[in-house]
């Protein structure tokens, strides 16, 4: 304070105050400013008094209200002029199409009402995803109605017209071609054979064109390994349902890797508890805590850098017990130096013995599966391990993973950047890709882009890449597009538009076709539609050997959304050179960083989708963020707690992000999700999470996602992570294993179940009621959830959000426990923090017969229906929240705000986004309680159909949104009073139980206890 000129002021409001200006000192001593207390001259005031003013105001308002409005007016009904034959206002139409969300290109069925898409579900006729899609696919419908979609073409952020864009680009393309400069098309993965043809045509027209394909998370390492081992990069699908023992090595095949929907379905076919138990046994060796790890019977904590040694040691051990393939001497030399004894201390001797014995005993019926992020070396070793075990019989070559356009190597992309820097590139076209965000920074792509004269970005919404270029060209959403996909052997999937383009957008292929044709006049709405039809006729129709003519075949293919053709399978043979030539990988001495795909927002593509940002992470339950997951003991040694910022350093790249203590993680290991931290994006996704791509490098070896010898330090400061797990919690955190003691989670093992099938109900207490029980004579709706099948994928949550118009509340409101989702997935841990056993449980309104919420409502806004539903009436609700307080399951949700208005400055309250709402469900406003309705709108629709057809209403007529979406069919819905219905049978299942049964609230959601397939009769 010594340098203070006049006084020892510590705080100052203005420079004048700091300098002790007399004016300020004077003002400080006087309570009122000069003149404030003077008498005023009433004659100078307005003649109208305050009272009179108010009187005039109200009188004029009343007059306007009565005179100028026709209060009886009920608006207009505008029917069609010429009604399309198959469109009836009020009846939904369904169209088969294909999802563009990720590389799997699942078949989808889009529900439209009055011409607007309102729900996406899986296409039941599709052989791969068989009627189910992931949470991303479910919620992607919001992207169509995203308020920040590009509405028109923009040139340097100024609105322009397609005609001038076409002219500018075509002249730039011709310039580049004549001056010998490169034209670069940067695209994501191409799954459409017709898009590939368009690109080929483009190259034919402008021969200087080069195509670059890049995707943030991909299966490149697996493909490379397959190329080396078997001479083709088209790797087979796995027959999961035939595998008795599965070892997943850092592979989240039940979470977000590969064809996860198919994997989940096939895997859970071996988790049936009806009659025989035919359980498979799932071992997971991983460093992070993935969904697959949570579902495993045995989880082995092996950090990804040690996986190479682990697999080698397994080969050594199992080869000693025999091999299905003749090994050459060189191969033996390669693996003989590795021994499992090193891992005994790390993962436990018992577990390891079980694993080796099980793999040995189930040769030919087991599978070892490595994850996409692991280096090629591990994949090659795993390929050999499966050969040694004779597991190749579980490879399904008939629907192998096809490769249309290969990913560009890092060297090719570096070369592109060099050419750009040296001015050798005339035009860059971002073909629905965002390389400025997804490419590792050290490529220098963003800065090199500045040297290119014309950068045209074909994109749905402004992104990092379009912001760095001069043309942002709006393209159709997937629901406005034509297309096809050929991802799996023999499966051709078709995409058709279900709504005409809402804005002045164009199909991305049509843009290229216009440029190929050389003039804006070549464009018409059907340019790509016709191109696709011709291409389909030439490629697929000729293969299909159909008796129908080409046109009929096309329409029937469009109707089904998919065509299956038989393809010849080439036999393959393992090439030992691939194994013998492997570089041996050594484990890290310092921290290991594992970057991997997130579950819901893709490569940042879905970051502006509020529904997806708000779905809790399947493991940590964190919303609206990514984080550095650390194990409890590593957190202790780093002296950090959850939310504390960590600095992660790999080489000269670093990232500061919050830590999250994740039980079950490997020590000295950090796992971070990719895809967060978008900067140029709409209001929802802006600055959500931390951009972990900044840790990636162009020359990261051996895997671009795993970094050894990283340094991690506490950075100081914190960032609040918001998790939904500690909210709506049934358990008491102070009591360990409370969920087991209160029997919220009841589990058993397969051995126990075989020995005593009724073990769950042995000590059942008799419950008595103090009131008369209501008898339900007609239908009585009930649900059963099989916890053996639930994989915690959160698709039910996404489906429910879309079906029931559930609002997005934002991170701040989630932190206050105000998330609005009607169904949540509870996750409980038992065991130790290092080796936790995770249990999952979908929790939704239990529609209790003796519902405690009903007794306390002062206005009878929640009451019981004759078909056993706990009704919630929004118009009666006055918002006391007594019901929520009295609900033992904590499944009621209160609208503290009108969330469409309060979230992100009314982001989702506009004419466009409200089109996503299901017209059969009320949009709730502020001050009312809401909760799961068992999809009453679907029950009522089934009822009206039953009355129309003069049939009794059956439970099988109704499929709730969560049930329809569940990839493993874990959810069953139906009539409990119909003894033949599946739900009634499940209610009497040996393993069935109700949560908090002792309260005698008589819930109508039955859970089937999870069985763990371990070698013991006890769980813990």
């Amino acid at each position: 304070m010594s340098d203070s000129p006049k006084s020892s002021n510590k705080l100052w409001k203005s420079i004048k105050g700091y300098n002790d200006d007399p004016e300020v000192l004077n003002a400080k001593t006087n309570e009122f400013m000069e003149g404030v207390t003077d008498e005023f001259d009433s004659s100078k005031l307005s003649g109208i008094s305050r009272r009179k003013f108010l009187a005039i105001l109200s009188a004029s308002a009343a007059l306007t209200a009565t005179a100028c409005t026709d209060y009886r007016d009920k608006g207009e009904i505008i029917p069609y002029n010429k009604r399309p034959e198959d469109v009836m206002p009020g009846i939904a139409n369904y169209y088969a199409s294909t999802c563009n969300g990720c590389s799997q290109s699942c078949g989808i069925l889009v529900k439209t009402r009055e011409g607007r898409p309102i729900k996406i579900d899986g296409n039941p006729d599709h052989p791969i995803n068989a009627g189910k899609i992931c949470a991303k696919g479910q919620a992607s419908i919001l992207n169509l109605y995203d308020p920040e979609r590009l509405t028109d073409p923009f040139e340097l952020r100024k609105k322009t017209v397609w005609k001038s864009v076409d002219a500018d680009v075509i002249s730039a393309l011709n310039d580049a071609q004549s001056s010998g400069k490169e034209i670069s098309i940067v695209t994501g993965l191409i799954t459409s054979p017709t898009t590939k043809k368009v690109l080929n045509d483009f190259v034919a027209k402008y021969p200087n064109t080069k195509i670059y394909s890049y995707s943030l998370t991909n299966d490149q390492q697996r493909r490379n390994a397959w190329m080396d081992s078997y001479g083709t990069d088209e790797y087979p699908a796995i027959k999961w349902k035939d595998a008795d023992v599965i070892l997943a090595i850092d592979a989240d095949f039940l979470g977000n890797e590969g064809s996860s929907i198919e994997n989940m379905r096939e895997h859970t076919k071996r988790r049936e508890t009806n009659g025989k138990t035919n359980f498979n046994r799932l071992y997971v060796a991983e460093g992070r805590m993935s969904v697959t790890g949570m579902l495993s019977d045995y989880r082995l904590r092996v950090s990804p850098d040690s996986q190479y040694e682990f697999v080698m040691a397994l080969i050594n051990e199992l080869n000693n017990r025999g091999s299905a393939i003749a090994l050459d001497a060189n191969s033996k030399l390669k693996f003989e130096k590795y021994s499992l004894s090193k891992f005994e201390s790390l993962v436990g001797k018992d577990k390891l013995n079980h694993l080796v014995n099980d793999l040995n005993a189930n040769r030919g019926k087991s599978i070892v599966y490595a994850g996409d992020t692991l280096p090629k070396e591990v994949h090659v070793a795993v390929n050999l391990l499966n050969e040694v075990l004779g597991n190749t019989s579980l490879y399904d070559y008939s629907n192998s993973f096809k490769s249309l356009v290969k990913y560009s190597s890092a060297a090719e992309i570096s070369q592109l950047v060099d050419s750009m820097k040296n001015g050798k590139v005339g035009v860059v076209i971002h073909f629905d890709s965002n390389p400025v965000f997804t490419l590792p920074e050290d490529f220098g792509y963003a800065s090199a882009l500045k040297k290119v004269k014309l950068v045209a970005s074909l994109t749905e919404a402004e992104n990092e890449s379009s912001a760095a270029g001069n043309y942002s060209l709006p393209i159709n959403d997937q629901l406005e597009s034509w297309g096809d996909a050929y991802v799996r052997g023999g499966v051709y999937s078709l995409q058709q538009p279900v709504i005409s383009p809402i804005f002045n957008t164009r199909q991305k292929e049509a843009v290229l076709l216009t440029w190929i044709a050389g003039g804006s006049s070549a464009f018409n709405e059907d340019i790509y539609h016709n191109y696709l039809m011709n291409s389909f006729n030439a490629d697929v129709y000729s293969k299909a050997n159909s008796f129908a003519d080409a046109k009929t075949f096309w329409y029937s293919a469009l109707n089904d959304g998919v065509v299956k053709v038989t393809e010849k399978v080439q036999p393959v043979k393992f090439n030992f050179a691939s194994f013998n030539g492997l570089n041996d990988l050594t484990p890290s001495k310092d921290f290991v960083i594992h970057l991997h795909d997130n579950y819901f927002i893709g490569d940042g593509k879905y970051a502006n989708n509020g529904w997806l940002q708000e779905i809790p992470h399947p493991v940590s339950k964190i919303t609206w963020d990514n984080y550095a997951a650390v194990s409890p003991s590593t957190a202790k040694s780093l002296k950090v707690d959850s939310n504390d910022l960590l600095q992660v350093k790999v080489g000269n790249r670093s990232l500061t992000l919050p830590a999250f203590i994740q039980p079950g993680l490997a020590d000295n290991f950090i796992s971070i999700e990719l895809g967060y931290g978008r900067t140029v994006i709409g209001e929802v996704g802006k600055e959500v999470g931390f951009n972990s791509i900044s840790l990636m490098s162009k020359d990261a070896q051996p895997s671009p996602y795993i970094f050894s010898n990283a340094s991690v330090t506490k950075a100081g400061g914190s960032h609040e992570l918001v998790s939904t797990q500690e909210q709506h919690s049934l358990d008491d955190t102070f009591v360990k294993d409370f969920h087991r003691i209160r029997r919220i989670i009841q589990e058993g093992t397969v051995l126990k179940y075989i020995k005593e099938p009724n073990f769950l109900h042995e000590e059942k207490e008799k419950l008595f009621s103090i009131t008369n029980e209501v008898q339900y004579t007609g239908n009585k709706w009930a649900m059963a959830i099989d916890l053996n099948k639930c994989t915690n994928c959160q698709v039910c949550v996404a489906s429910c959000n879309v079906e029931n118009n559930i609002a997005v509340v934002g991170k701040e409101q989630v932190s206050k426990g105000r998330v609005m989702q009607w169904i949540r997935l509870d996750r409980y841990y038992s065991g130790t923090p290092d080796e936790p056993i995770a249990s999952n449980q979908p929790m939704l309104c239990q529609q209790c017969d003796n519902a405690p919420c009903e007794n306390v409502c002062p206005v009878n806004a929640t009451n019981h229906s004759p078909d056993g539903l706990n009704q919630m009436v929004y118009n009666r609700c006055v918002g006391t929240r007594y019901c929520s307080n009295n609900c033992p399951y904590k499944v009621r949700r209160f609208n503290f705000f009108n969330y469409r208005d309060s979230f992100a400055d009314s982001y989702y309250e506009n004419n466009l986004t409200s089109l996503v709402n299901n017209p059969e469900v009320t949009v709730r406003s502020r001050g009312v309680m809401e909760k799961c309705t068992f999809c009453i709108q679907r029950i009522m629709e089934a009822r009206s159909n039953a009355i129309r057809d003069n049939k009794p209403l059956k439970g099988s007529d109704i499929v709730t949104a969560c049930q329809q979406a569940c990839p493993t069919n874990a959810i069953t819905f139906g009539d409990a009073n119909d003894p033949t219905s599946p739900v009634a049978k499940l209610r009497d299942h040996n393993l069935s139980y109700h949560v908090l049964e002792e309260l005698n609230v008589k819930p109508n959601v039955t859970y089937i206890a999870k069985l763990r397939n371990t070698h013991s009769e006890e769980i813990l």
Binding site: R72, D73, N81, K82, M88, I91, P866, Y874, M940, S944
Partner: protein, 189 residues
């Protein structure tokens, strides 16, 4: 204190005031009720379509135009092409038909004024009622006699529940009729 003044105020003035207030409230309530419920609302339509002529004299079935009524929630106001099934030939020279043809040829829909409406939070379903044999006239009045359609019965929750609770009295023409559902989610969701 003048006792007489207080007596007068309490005995005569107060009851009289209360009576006038109550009477005017009750009279206004009942007199204005149909109007509040929308009964008698008969707005002018863009085309002077006569139900009396079409449904009454020519006895065209309601479902010829209102095709949704047995299938789904909405009865559906017919699209212009249904009118043109006949009127591309019939009465082409009449002024209202010329107007209709103009709508059809310009591809514009006709902005019909809405007469019957249940609130947005009520999910009424036509097909459930019609498929149970309930006559259109029970709710919509005898449209066959209306040149200009107006609302005849109130569309209030009371009106719905009157029938749901006592259908035998309200729908004497139905031999077998069960009570309609009275639970909240039957209509509100």
């Amino acid at each position: 204190m003048k006792r007489t003044v207080l007596d007068y105020a309490l005995k005569i003035r107060l009851p009289l005031t209360l009576f006038v207030v109550a009477a005017s409230f009750i009279i206004t309530f009942y007199v204005a009720r149909p109007e509040r419920d929308g009964v008698g609302y008969a707005p002018e339509q863009p085309i002077k379509f006569s139900h009396k002529l079409h449904a009454g004299q020519m006895a065209i079935d309601c479902q010829y135009c209102h095709i949704g009524v047995t299938k789904e929630r909405h009865a559906i106001i017919p699209s212009v092409n249904i009118c043109m099934n006949c009127h591309s030939v019939a009465r082409k020279d009449k002024p209202e038909i010329i107007k209709l043809t103009q709508y059809y040829e310009s591809g514009k829909p006709i902005p019909w004024k809405r007469i019957h409406k249940v609130p947005e939070y009520a999910y009424f379903n036509h097909s459930v009622h019609v498929n149970k044999g309930i006559d259109c006239a029970t709710c919509h009045g005898d449209v066959r006699e209306m040149d200009v359609v107006s609302e005849v019965k109130p569309f209030t929750m009371t009106a719905c529940l009157d029938c749901h609770r006592n259908p035998q009295a309200q729908l004497p023409y139905l031999k077998v009729v069960k009570n309609g559902p009275e639970n909240c989610w039957a209509c509100h969701r």
